[in-house]
Symmetry: C2
Subunit: 486 residues, 2 copies
């Protein structure tokens, strides 16, 4: 996996950080955070926090004590051990887009299907730049609502050998995810063995969103209880579009984000001390004229950089970023907005990057062409954020002696020895001259990406999986689907 | 103009810098630099440097002594004093694309014309994000070769009131540029007065390219002699596509770039000590399979970040960056490659940014739609690289008291007071929802940009200019065109 050894780009002064620290302490103490789950309220009450109806007024120092119990870094295992990831430190792990109800395929925009879900899962499997297909890559609208989590987890477990995200629609769905992961990690020794394995080292990482401002809703909390109790990683994520779910000022959004994320993390530590958590951030802004969400904005870039610094301040791994855009299609705006988010993601050194590939139209659409473009952007940035080796040999003095003034280095020995690997080779970008490009059809980037994903799907080969495990997973899905009444 | 008060992103360790320092010292001393101009050779010889044919073997300490004579920062005046710029420090100045022989307008790619030149000049005038239309915005192929510099300078002098770049095709062209600038800055007191004014504070900044590796050609040197003698700013720019004009390793390219830039800067200081210079960089790489130039690459991004740090190491203002791309059209690749160059440009704090708007197809094409896209990118980054104000009021505690848990901030007092100015408002990006976007024609970014530049040209109004000065400029152009034999 990718380890980002380049420097972090930090823009908050010590003074600014102290002001933000004052802000979240006050917000947490005086306004408090709502938890729409009695078990959560009981845990906080038992721990000595003031609870009024659903509001918990948190003591900031108590919260920091809980935060200190969380691991600074942790592993998440994949069924192929070579694909396991480390979350935290300089490590960056990348997952595909999460959540869109629609799909775009070239000029066609339509409801997302289970076949799209499987296709994106296969594409995520084929690119090494991605560590995970994610979780809800899209909403498979052609499958029954109550049991589609089973189909999704089954696809993620069988079509990839990378780690996957758990379902969070309810506590029931979370339990099913954990059961299926236990089967998958049974390694021929049964589900109990699998359960022990994933409890020792988490096999899932799941997205718990805050209903910002300052409210954690019941179904997400149910899922959090299941995952944290089973020592599965959770990403506690304030969901903030500034101007709507937070005040319009970035510092206010940061203060709210800290309050929300730390309150959720404190709960996980009350559920199970030491359980793995990620400081989550989904932070952008709305267009103040139309109210539309906007992505890849200057404000979201600033927020992202600050978030990384803040998470390090609290000693927590963090999630931000991705290839976000408001654009409806894979056009110039999609290109620059995706990079406007992804490049700061690398500058901040984000540990868990959701929405790395495929996000279109403010997250309403999973786009095939966009997926391909984004994978290349991740690859490019992984190359760019790999430190240079600067030594005598790298300065190529001999090549200058060989080539001389005004000459060219194309055939120099130094070049011949390195030309295959010296530069990143894009699979999507074109640098063809105009005449050749026209002869090849004069296709723009989106059109070229359309061919690439179709070829990739054609060439897809499933990773090996023990037939007994597959059968047990299938059996589980069939049984549970019946129980859930579909 | 834009002042970048955000931190610089620096990736070279002290040790790495010391290794590079050893590298350029050796290259300069042992391989030397070719100057294809006898006056340059004489100056170096007189200064005690070893000269063999056209090769000058430079003493690195002698070179550093010359470099120390150059101003760390300087002003370049525009005829509208409010548009004058400061080059160096935290200041960033932006000019349009420079040099393309072709134009793209939507689906049409054709030879560039003088009308295109005037159109791009007008567009550059209308956007505050740009400090200059640049110089050779494109090659006006429909005008006679020997006198087109007169037409270009005339357009730049009359259609904008921003600073412009001088012509560098020959010493003759440079002299014409200086004469026309002297007329323009005469301020009703004649050309002599103008000449004194621009010699006190330069009114032009001109691009002197190295014929990399390690050769300065005669015509560019002729122009450099004219400009530096007249105290006009010159940008000494190694022109390096790694793998062709330099070895394939980035450290080697950096060492060569230092050698070339410093040798050119030393010459300017021999011509006129204290004359304004800029450490130039045009650094990308070729595709090692096709030999095509590529832009917006990870390697060029790394090179750009290193270049900023290196220029600061030598106490020199520097030029890098722009909205570079290899893409043939204003598509997704054009979007991400342009930003892949522009964002590092801001991280590095580049003082003089050429090619900020309009560059397409590896610099062969000036694109109208790309111009519009790039201007918005520059604006976005100018917003992103403006430090946050973090104080009590910015944390909006009152807004939380007003809105409460799970509410929204759209109508909060804190929002109402700030909603017009709180976020950058893009003029090109769309965040329309799908239905509205389709009703409005379902246009992609390039199509929307097509409408914007046409509207902007329609609305263009020339900046005021003294009629006597305009007449004198016209007279100069007519007379010189006749003398040059067209």
């Amino acid at each position: 996996m990718f380890v980002n050894k380049m420097p972090r780009y930090e823009i908050l002064s010590e003074e600014a950080m102290a002001t933000l620290d004052g802000g979240w302490r006050r917000l947490m103490t005086e306004i408090g955070v709502e938890f729409m789950d009695d078990r959560a309220l009981d845990l906080f009450r038992q721990a000595g926090q003031r609870v009024e109806e659903h509001k918990v007024f948190l003591d900031p120092d108590f919260v920091l004590e809980q935060v200190a119990k969380a691991p600074r870094e942790f592993d998440v295992q994949a069924r192929n051990p070579e694909r396991s990831v480390h979350i935290g430190g300089d490590h960056m792990a990348f997952g595909a887009v999460y959540g869109p109800p629609f799909t775009r395929e070239g000029e066609v925009r339509r409801d997302a299907t289970m076949e799209d879900f499987r296709n994106f899962t296969k594409l995520a499997q084929t690119y090494d730049a991605l560590d995970s297909a994610g979780g809800v890559i899209n909403e498979p609208n052609d499958t029954p609502l109550d049991s589609r989590h089973l189909d999704m987890v089954y696809a993620l477990a069988t079509l990839t050998d990378k780690l996957f995200m758990g379902n969070v629609v309810s506590g029931v769905n979370a339990r099913d995810t954990i059961e299926m992961a236990s089967i998958l990690f049974g390694a021929g020794q049964g589900r109990e063995h699998g359960r022990a394995s994933i409890e020792a080292t988490p096999a899932t990482i799941s997205l718990i969103n805050c209903n910002s401002p300052l409210r954690w809703d019941d179904r997400m909390l149910e899922a959090q209880f299941e995952y944290s109790a089973a020592n599965q990683a959770v990403v506690l994520t304030p969901f903030i579009l500034m101007g709507a779910m937070s005040p319009v000022t970035i510092p206010a959004a940061l203060v709210q984000q800290i309050t929300e994320a730390l309150s959720g993390i404190a709960l996980s530590q009350l559920i199970r001390p030491g359980s793995p958590v990620v400081f989550g951030s989904f932070l952008s802004n709305i267009d103040m004229q139309s109210g539309s969400p906007t992505f890849g904005t200057p404000e979201s870039g600033i927020g992202l950089l600050c978030t990384g610094q803040i998470a390090r301040h609290f000693g927590l791994p963090f999630r931000t970023g991705g290839g976000l855009t408001s654009s409806q299609v894979t056009d110039a705006q999609a290109g620059y907005e995706a990079l406007m988010t992804l490049l700061p993601t690398f500058l901040a050194g984000t540990n868990w990057v959701m929405h790395s590939a495929g996000w279109l139209e403010g997250g309403l659409v999973a786009g095939y062409e966009k997926f391909i473009m984004d994978v290349q952007l991740v690859e490019m940035l992984q190359h760019e954020f790999t430190p240079l080796e600067i030594d005598e040999a790298s300065m190529a003095f001999d090549a200058h002696e060989e080539v001389g003034h005004g000459g060219h280095f194309l055939g120099a020995m130094h070049t011949m020895e390195r030309f295959r690997t010296c530069f990143y080779r894009p699979f999507l970008s074109s640098s063809e001259n105009y005449e050749r490009w026209m002869r090849n059809g004069g296709q723009d980037t989106a059109a070229r990406a359309g061919k690439i994903w179709r070829d990739k799907l054609e060439a897809y080969e499933p990773p090996p999986l023990d037939e007994a495990i597959r059968a047990e997973l299938e059996e589980y899905v069939v049984r549970r689907r019946a129980e859930l009444g579909d």
